[in-house]
Structures are given as C-alpha cells and as structure tokens.
Amino acid sequence: MNWTWFHKLASPPHFYRLAGRITPWLGWPAFLLIVVGLYGGLVLAPPDYQQGDAFRIVYVHAPSAWMSMFIYGTMAIAAAIGLIWRIKLAHAVAAAAAPVGAWFTFVALVTGSLWGRPMWGTWWQWDARLTSELILLFLYLGFIALRASIDDRERADRASAVLALVGVINLPIIHYSVYWWNTLHQGATITKFGKPSITFEMLWPLLVMFVAFKLFFGAILMVRVRGEVLKRERDASWLREELTR
C-alpha cells in the first residue's frame, strides 16, 4: 500500500495549504447544518409531553457532550502519533484540539445545568453524567495547564502527550466509577429521555446537530492547527514564501 499521502500529511507546509483549502468545505456545511438543525429542533419538533419546551436544550447539550469525549479521544490519538513517530504536526493537532474540547465540555456542563433548573428544580445535581463531564473538564484543564507551564516547546509537546495518554486510559475508569458511585448514592434521576421512545421529528434535528458539531470541530481544528503551524514555523523560509506569494 502506498503511504505517501500519509507521510505528506506530516509535513507542515503541505498540511498548512491543505488545511487552508478544506476549512471552507467543513465550515460552510457546519454552518448550514447548524441552522437547519436548530430550526428543526427549536421550531419544527413538537414539545415533549413531559418536559415541554425545556427538552430542546438537548440539541446543543447532547452534541456538545459527545464532542467533549470525542475530542479527548482525538487529542489522545494525535498525542500518541506524535509521541511514537515523533511527528511534530500531530502534537500541534493535540495542542489545537485541547481548548476546543474544554469549551465543548464547558458548554455541555452549562446546558446540562440550565436543563436541570426546570427539571430537577436545582442548578446542579451530582448526576453521574454531569459529574463525569466535570472531571473531564479537569483533565482538559490539566493538559492545557501542563502545556502552558513548560517553556520548551518540544518538551511541552511530549510531556502533555504522555499526560493525554494517561488521561485516556483513566477516562473509562473514571466514567464507570462515577456511574457506580451515583447509583449507590441517589435513586434514578426524575426525568431521563425514554430511550427508544423519541419520535422521528425530534430525532432528525438531533442527528443533524451531531453531524454539524463534528464538521464545526473539523473546521475550527483546521484553523487552529494553521495557527499552531504559523507559531511553530515562524522562522521557516517556506512560510515566508507562502505568505508573500
């Protein structure tokens, strides 16, 4: 099998151009799908018979929560690639992904808390999902803080990559411990979405939003990786040629 395309990906100039070219192809569909998904979710979908209109926050909450975990996985894979094959660009991807993941985690927490207000009658409930999202946020913050405290870029890359791998091994352990802890300490939370009972009118905007958020992440990641490349290669001659062209 020919791996040239893969090796080319690791070259900063190639990736810089490629990322610039595919950003609009990810960004515009993301924008359109967010508009469609929000219209479908906020206007077309019928109100829930139990939760009324409050359930509509799920159209932002669930995709954000999914992205928060997906991005941690992406980050860990990029970190592993960077650590094993010493590909600097992979470290740039991990560094660029972390703050985006932290924000998605934050959005998932805030929307979860907003939803909890009418549903549970309180802003915060030590619900298993919210708690494990909170711990995930701590893991992101640790990763970002470690990167920020190491001045030498090479060391920051490799040290934070080790941390990301340690984190990704611990993530399932944390997740299931929190579930176990939660089921012991409190009964089933009052309202949960009945699993298969969601109707198609409610479901399709949700699926659209899932795809939209993923594309949005792709677009943002491309922009951010380009930024990282600019920072890292600021003395490179290819970059000067690229920018003056």
């Binding site: 040290a159 340690v166 944390i174 411990s177 802890w181 012991l184």
Partner: protein, 226 residues
C-alpha cells in the same frame, strides 16, 4: 561487573529510604497534616461522634489523599538537581523498573506512615474498631495508587516553576475513582457491611496503576532530560 536490575532496584529503594529517614521531618509532615485536617472536621461540623461517624470514611480518605500529595514533588527533584537522574538514564538499566523502585520507596516513606496513623485518627472520628482493618487496607491501596499516579505527575512537572500546584491539578482527577471506592469501602465497614467488593476493585486499580505508571514515568523522565 554489571549490576543486575534486582540489585539496582534494591539499592535505589534502600538509598531512598535512608535519605528519607535522615530528613525525618519530610516523613512527619504529611502525618501531622493528616492529623490536623482530621481535627478540623469536628471543629467545623460537630463534636458529636454519631454524626462524625457518618462522614468519617470520606473525611479520612480526602485528608489522606491531600497528605500523600504533599511529598510528591520531591520524588525526583533532588535526583534531578544533583544529576543522579541522568546517571539513572545512562545506567542502561530499564528505567521503568528504576521508577518502580523509586515509587515503592516513596510509598514506604510517605504512604505507609499515613496508613499506620489512620486508625488512631479514625477512632477519634467515632469509627468502630471492626472497621479499622478495612480502613487501613483501603488506605494502603489508595496511597499506593496515588504514589504511582503521582510519580507520573512528578516526572511530568519536573523542574517546572510552580510545579507543585500543577502536580495536584494533574493527579487529583486521576485519583478520583480510587477515592470513590476507598471511601465507600470504609463507609460500608463502618455500617457493619462486608466491604469486599469495593476493596477488590480498589485492588484492581492498584495493580493496573502499578503496572502502567512506571512506563509513563520512564517516558516522562526521558522527556524531561532531553
């Protein structure tokens, strides 16, 4: 003659312990810290033993985790400062096993004293005598987990400014599952239940962290010396 790795590990373990006992205040400080935090609880909440008993498991576990965090930043600091660490990297011995010996020595000097003093403090919080064995077992495993996870954090933050705060930030989220099962085990024992389940899970976590963390420590140490 080439020193075998078992010999090297024994030497490192012994050497670290000798150093630790020469600076006895480093061993005493976490123990005093643990005792003080446990004293704060009745002062802040209530001197009623019945009420204290309800939260004793959680309090002791949180206090022990924080106390065990205190010494972590010194794990590799002196070795890093005086060049011993470079010699370890150059020695040709498997770095992960050296790290394991260092972690074991650190646990003996910082985790074990906490485990030994915990029954005394537990009695002060109204924990019945039949729960003390579970408490000590869970804390022994828990401080072991914290020492292995903390070793990774210590190696990653080696030589950084304000490394100690960062170290807690990195290690505490990873130690949360251990806290869940450890505090739960103690709580069950206090209420006269059999705490076998959470203790076994805690043991599983201990084995896992002991197996994997030396590899992460070795990788981090190499990175820090590049």
């Amino acid at each position: 003659m080439q020193t075998s790795i078992t010999q090297a590990m024994a030497l490192i373990y012994r050497g670290d312990l000798i150093l630790a006992f020469r600076r006895w205040e480093q061993i005493a400080q976490p123990v005093v810290f643990l005792a003080m935090v446990t004293t704060l609880v009745p002062l802040a909440l209530s001197p009623e033993l019945g009420e204290l008993r309800e939260i004793a498991g959680g309090v002791l576990w949180i206090a022990a985790l924080l106390a065990a965090l205190l010494g972590l930043e010194f794990l590799y600091r002196t070795d890093h400062a005086d060049g011993t660490l470079e010699q370890m990297l150059l020695s040709g011995q498997p770095l992960a096993l050296i790290a394991l010996a260092k972690t074991a020595a650190h646990w003996t000097a910082s985790g074990l004293p906490l485990v030994l003093v915990s029954p005394l403090l537990a009695v002060g919080l109204g924990v019945p005598a039949n729960a003390l064995v579970v408490l000590m077992t869970s804390l022994a495993l828990g401080t072991g987990i914290l020492s292995s996870l903390g070793a990774v954090g210590a190696a990653l933050t080696l030589g950084l400014r304000r490394g100690s705060v960062l170290l807690s930030l990195l290690v505490l989220p990873l130690a949360m599952p251990a806290l869940i099962f450890g505090a739960r085990a103690v709580d069950m024992a206090i209420h006269g239940e059999v705490a076998r389940g959470p203790l076994l899970l805690l043991g599983a976590m201990f084995v896992l962290s002991l197996t994997l963390s030396p590899l992460a420590v070795a990788a981090s140490l190499k990175i820090s010396q590049e």
